[in-house]
Symmetry: C2
Subunit: 80 residues, 2 copies
């Protein structure tokens, strides 16, 4: 059994409105030292396989097809 | 200048409807080996300070006050 962790982030060149909103909120709460806030997604799941090479290929396929919108988002994953 | 990474996840004892939805979608797309999907948030930002101890305390305060809902969510952070 492998555990996968997937991180999906908006590409650097794409505006991140959620990050802008969070930064505005932090500034108005007195955390003015915060800059360049980016908000992404974080997914954890278990895979019913112990074959690492197969799992890598399956997780990559999941990211490309569903978990990330590769036009505007980057993804990376870890398997443990 | 320090860079902070914050991970916000729904507590294990709390139902994660977004995770359930993602798991259902993955299953219907042929990824039936996926189980226990949990979806969280991932934030990156820069801090205009080089004082590590102060930064830790400030990031913790941001998490408690805005970034995480500590009733239903856990958070952890890294400073680099």
């Amino acid at each position: 059994m492998l555990k996968a962790t997937v991180y999906v982030t908006i590409k650097q060149s794409v505006l991140d409105p959620q990050g802008v909103a969070v930064q505005g909120a932090l500034h108005s709460m007195g955390f003015g030292e915060v800059d360049k806030v980016r908000v992404g997604k974080y997914l954890e799941f278990e895979l019913g396989t112990a074959d690492r090479a197969e799992a890598e290929q399956r997780v990559k396929s999941m990211c490309e097809k569903l978990l990330a919108n590769t036009v505007i988002e980057d993804y990376r994953y870890e398997l443990v």
